[in-house]
Assembly symmetry: C2
Homo-oligomer: 181 residues x 2
């Protein structure tokens, strides 16, 4: 941030009084801008023993497979955002069953949240964001072509819990930007 | 937002191409500004059967009791943020045991996240943000003087789970801004 969003004056990057972090502070109108982590919310869409994945038609990671997920928007809940993203990316209507994984990724200021969700029917299609949408057996996940490490970690945890027939809530941290874990 | 944070030009509030929401878009440099929900992260600090609460020395809800919590900052994990806020507000060093509650509050674009945390010792003190810091028995919570509905909801869930000797992960939504629930 270089200019004040409230008055358009150039900002100073300083630690405001009573704070302990550098913020963009406007010397003209005194507005302080706070930049905070963002939530990526999505689903693990489950249908008759198979998982729905989307092949990304957008950057980053164009052409790689992902669980449907995206930035949580204002005025929605975490689960509403997850279902909206699922519809936008896969054309499918799902129902959230439970929050499953919450993964902090501090070096990119994001928290990734995935819900186990059931598809009501095998009704899905290619979208602007996904060049391909398909159901995969749990022993046939395209591990080498997954878009994000939060997705591969979530899928591994899901498959493990599915084998144990008990789904928990999993918290984790990804410190390095890698798609293999 | 009225001015572009990248170039200082006045922004237009329009729906960008390929989007479906109104954003602040700069007609000069084409920067699009995304405003997303923020995470409030905090703890339920537990010590020998008692809970630590802080009396707010800052607005909003000055003078009311709260669990230690605040905005998650960039470059940290959700649990690191919770422990940082606990230290800042109560002077106490805690250890996160598990994520306990995640409460979406869509009308203020926030997600409140609370961890069960154990205090290592009964070492806490008044801080700039808290005029009083004290341990409370579970049957002596100051229900009528709690600062936020996410705090009262989290405390009710915690006490219920404590009685059942099994702590779950609870997801909830607060649709109306009220301190009583």
């Amino acid at each position: 941030m270089r200019y004040c969003p409230q008055c358009g004056h150039a900002v100073d990057m300083i630690i405001p009084t009573g704070d302990n972090r550098v913020r963009a502070v406007c010397p003209h109108c005194e507005h302080i801008d706070y930049d905070n982590p963002r939530i990526i919310t999505g689903t693990i869409p489950f249908y008759k023993g198979q998982l729905l994945l989307c092949r990304r038609n957008i950057e980053p990671r164009f052409g790689y497979w992902t669980l449907p997920a995206g930035f949580m928007e204002n005025q929605e809940t975490t689960s509403e955002g997850a279902l909206r993203e699922t519809l936008e990316e896969s054309g499918s209507i799902a129902v959230c069953k439970q929050a499953f994984s919450m993964i902090s990724i501090p070096h990119i200021n994001q928290v990734h949240l995935f819900y186990i969700a059931e598809l009501e029917r095998d009704d899905f299609h290619v979208t602007e964001e996904s060049s391909e949408v398909a159901l995969f057996d749990l022993d046939n996940i395209p591990w080498g072509e997954l878009a994000f490490s939060s997705v591969s970690r979530t899928l591994r945890l899901f498959i493990e819990d599915h084998k144990n027939k008990s789904y928990g809530f999993h918290e984790d941290t990804i410190y390095v930007n890698t798609t293999s874990d």
